[in-house]
Symmetry: C2
Subunit: 720 residues, 2 copies
Amino acid sequence: MFNSSAEHSSLQLERMFNPDTVAVIGASKNTSKRGNQAIKDLQESGYEGEIYPVNPRYDSEIRGLPVYDSVAATPDTVDLAFIATPAETIPDIVKECGDVGVAGAVIIAAGFSEAGEKGLEATIRDIARDRGVALIGPNIQGVYNLHTGLNLLGGYEIPKGNIAVLAQSGNVGLEFGSHAEDRSSTGFSFNIGVGNETDLEFHDYLEFLDDDEHTDAIALYVDGMSDGRAFLQTARDVVQTTPIVVLKGGLTEEGKESVQSHTASLAGDSDVLDAVYEQAGVIRVDRSDHVVPVADALSKLPPAAGDNVAILSDGGGNATLAADGLSNRGLSVTAVSESTQDRLRELVPDAPNVTNPVDMMGLQGDGDLSIFYDCAEALVADPAVDSLLLTGVFGAYESRGPGDGSSGQEPDVARRIASLVEEYDTPIAVHCIYGTQGSPALEALEDAGVPTYGSLDIAIASLEKLTQYGEHLSTADAKSTFRLESNREQHSLVCDALDAGKRQLSEFHSKQLLGAEGLPVAPFDLVTTATEAADAAAKYEGPVAMKTMSDDIVHKTEADCVALDVSGEDAVREQFTTLVDNAKSYDPDCTVDGVLVSPMLDSSVELIVGVLRDEEVGPVLMFGVGGIFVEVMRDVAFRALPLTEHDARSLVNDINAQKLLNGVRGNPGIDREALVELLVDVSELATANPSITELDLNPVFASPDGAIIADASVILDTDG
Amino acid sequence: MFNSSAEHSSLQLERMFNPDTVAVIGASKNTSKRGNQAIKDLQESGYEGEIYPVNPRYDSEIRGLPVYDSVAATPDTVDLAFIATPAETIPDIVKECGDVGVAGAVIIAAGFSEAGEKGLEATIRDIARDRGVALIGPNIQGVYNLHTGLNLLGGYEIPKGNIAVLAQSGNVGLEFGSHAEDRSSTGFSFNIGVGNETDLEFHDYLEFLDDDEHTDAIALYVDGMSDGRAFLQTARDVVQTTPIVVLKGGLTEEGKESVQSHTASLAGDSDVLDAVYEQAGVIRVDRSDHVVPVADALSKLPPAAGDNVAILSDGGGNATLAADGLSNRGLSVTAVSESTQDRLRELVPDAPNVTNPVDMMGLQGDGDLSIFYDCAEALVADPAVDSLLLTGVFGAYESRGPGDGSSGQEPDVARRIASLVEEYDTPIAVHCIYGTQGSPALEALEDAGVPTYGSLDIAIASLEKLTQYGEHLSTADAKSTFRLESNREQHSLVCDALDAGKRQLSEFHSKQLLGAEGLPVAPFDLVTTATEAADAAAKYEGPVAMKTMSDDIVHKTEADCVALDVSGEDAVREQFTTLVDNAKSYDPDCTVDGVLVSPMLDSSVELIVGVLRDEEVGPVLMFGVGGIFVEVMRDVAFRALPLTEHDARSLVNDINAQKLLNGVRGNPGIDREALVELLVDVSELATANPSITELDLNPVFASPDGAIIADASVILDTDG
């Protein structure tokens, strides 16, 4: 699943993304071919380096440039090769590129693993890595460095700016460009097609872009990563300085259907991704039209220090909708301090509301617009305010309002409002009801680094993500590193089972392993005679649970190998015989190790803890409320291994049934810290024993006195 | 809460919304005043009727028109008065309007119930109704009839079209106008401020607009309706011919905070509103930027006959995101038929996917764009396809594509695609990655009635709402009428309790009432001696539940007046005495009616059924999964009374814990039809007894054999 990673130096990526020389291999005179368009795109986008058309079939010129027989024949070393030829020709071309020291190649052709041609793709990867050529693609639309005019993509109208786009779909990358075009001060540093990630993978680009002077935010469209774990590790570091926004496609069954026919990668599960992105500090958005505005806001504004948003509005309707929208996205709209309210009341004596939302009513005719600055300043100066949303007509009073707009005051007020961002280190977003129509005041805001929105929903989403980003930065040190190294040997029980070729540890061995690693397991005895069973049961006051242990029987209940609530010596003895007989009649060839005897536990809050391997991000831990809840409501949450205490604590907070954990209907709440410890210990166990591919602790009983594992099952990866 | 309704004839509304004469009362020479702007707005928007400025303080002219001392002094009868004077002057002005036969008045002033001046508001309502003047407002920005130039609002840039807007916030109404301006073929017939609904209410406007020849869809912004029940009744009829889209503000605690300072109405609960709007066929959207595009789609396209959407794309990424988005909104993306797939494969032999989503890959260079028509036709001709989403570059191949665009073929292909809507009676929406930039082809689509979108999310929302609308139209006859008339007298138990001034029926009387109305109540006996208790208990095989009945004790558990699982004659006798003693020690003055003896029921699926009065829409029925589920997960759903069988069935389908109803973990599923019957019977009981303000059946036990009410409580409205 995980590729061995590309090992190209940052210098090599720097050379290929800022090349002095570009060869267009498969250059063509036909203007409908990419081998012609690429040259045109470079010429018309102001690329200042050398362009060498390469095509052995031409001996004259293309678009005024001499054509060369081969990349070797060009007059200078080629930094970047753009290869416009079909899939089957690629291996030889990459080989030749390597021989003459080309730093990197852009391969647009389809027809590799996404079309079932995995062998061809492996071939070009091996050649590239062997000869040190970094490959972008294949199966992409192209690459565009907007600051140097290195346009091997098209999309002329994309504005230059500070967002780097990495897209696993050319059209989605171009759509992002169209969304940037809709805004007045938003643009791209790079627009890079990622394609099949044959050689360069998402995380390789991240490192390069983090260092790029023109890039302040990175926006990704992903429909399946080849190495999600490496992405998380790299992203965790990159987001310390450069925020990352991800749109993930293929998260529903319907979406996956399409992904599988599109690229060769497998799509991850939405719940898992949400959790691991949050762990890494990657900002996930779920709509394509949110990507660019959110990345823009993250690239320009400081992160919010907390989740309380002050709403400043000149109309009740916008204030109401803003409060609804912020609250729906989990942000707070709590009252500002009494002193701030007093100040606002002085500023606008007729204001219908000065608590939050602040509704200052619209200005009529020639009202003084600087009141917007005064109110905004009063709000951001309040320590309880973490960000400010200005919503309503401001930005369009002079362009659309009923007055004649002759005073021309609005852009100046706009600039003064924008200055508050730096002065108070507080993000400000402006939603204007005429936001899509533009105005001098809106442009003044944008130019001064305050994003403006015609869509209230997108304005709110941007503040939400600035809040998430701020929250991440303040807790990043306490979160997972995503590194799975362990300097311990796997536990002997795991090694023994692997040696014996077993795929599963029995409940007995699973519990032995857990106990040996210090996890709280309910007491158990493996007994081999009825007398031993009776002795084991006698140790407990109440009834016991009895289960036949056999590596040959996977589904114990189906084989009638489980007896619960067994009370009294006679019953225990009888059950022992019955359980062994049941196993034998279910599978006459099975080997019975004995019968497991455990005390019945008091029914408490029933939880489930598991480890599984996600195809995209590797090992993750699942936690949820067990029993009927997990079946009926699927109330579970995830974190990538290894978990820190912080991760474990936030995982416990993630599930919906918090009332159950806090205590409900006379039941007391549970000991959360004991649960957190258990989760971290499970993470350590799974990290130290990488052959454990699945772990199922179900149920775990939690109470005010702790948490205890009542049943356990360990699945091993016998291939690994 | 519910106003007595305005009674103005449709002729009167026709006269005031299409007036021959308009008086501007409070006309002003000051260009920053509404009394001046209103005249300018009428003049500049092409209003062709007479304009009479009225102001006793002027004797010359305003904007070239003679000024009159009073509305009585104008040379002709006034159809509509626009009143620009402050709140306290309104009563006299409305009186004078009534005296001279003015049909209606637009009152913009604030300072009525929203500012605590309920008396002033009641006064103008009484005057208006007494003298037959219909009032729009107060507390609004104005009114605009775009087809006659009757502009008493501003907002010149709003395009003329077929959507009527009713907005309880002037700025939100103007923002909708800005969203219409963003689209190439979308506009308004009316933009009406609704304000405090002092006289004319939402439902009054609905009826007028339904008949209006220029209106094909109605879009509402509501932050609190004065008579939600009348709205539902009217809307139910109107949507048969004119779709209604509602954005509701003030649904969260934060939003309500703002609403209460904005208008005088109380906001409804989101879950209740979602349900009752669905019952009435009203389309609810939850984002302000969805209102206009969704109303536009509903005004132009046929509703979808089912929920299966075919996706036609020229790129994998867009196809994936479309499938994700449709699925997230509950729509289906299921495979088209084999024969359609064969046809598509013939049309595009290299297509990466022809099942659904259909990915036909992008056209290169001078490819023939009519392939988009051919594929679209193949898809909509498939009976399994209920609507079509075209997503990708189509619409911008010639304006943005790599070719030279000289063929000019795309608008013609666009028109042919649009013709499929009528030919196959199937809605088609087009998302173009350059949708916000416009192109001749996109305009051709819009002109031919196919909406285009730059936002995939909004395109998908539009198809979702066309699907909901189609679903409603096909089931409308089976749904609630919202009429609460009953020709029965209230039950004698209710009448007796009301006569006695009781607010609550005891469990005994509640169960008597339910039983008398034919509802399935668990057996019960009210006993007054220990011997009677023993006899009652002896009727059942298992243990019994015993509860002290006293109208003076509301919380039985708190008073230790409940004993469960009582077994054996001695225990029953003893419990009888204890329960009576406990009541007496809890409240020495209480009157004890006896002890209720019922059999303990087998634990089964525990449900909760209730009736409550929503402040906005009146009586609603709540249904949910009871016990710990309702407390931990709040898994409940609502319907307005009276419920039809269809409503009850869809209510049962609305809750999340369907697995519990279907059977899980060895428990069998429940008898849904018995539950449906119970819900309809509860609805009939509550409708026939309007004094029942709350009803709580908790728990109701459901099993494969039926449903039975285990506990019941009835609260009466002693004020009603």
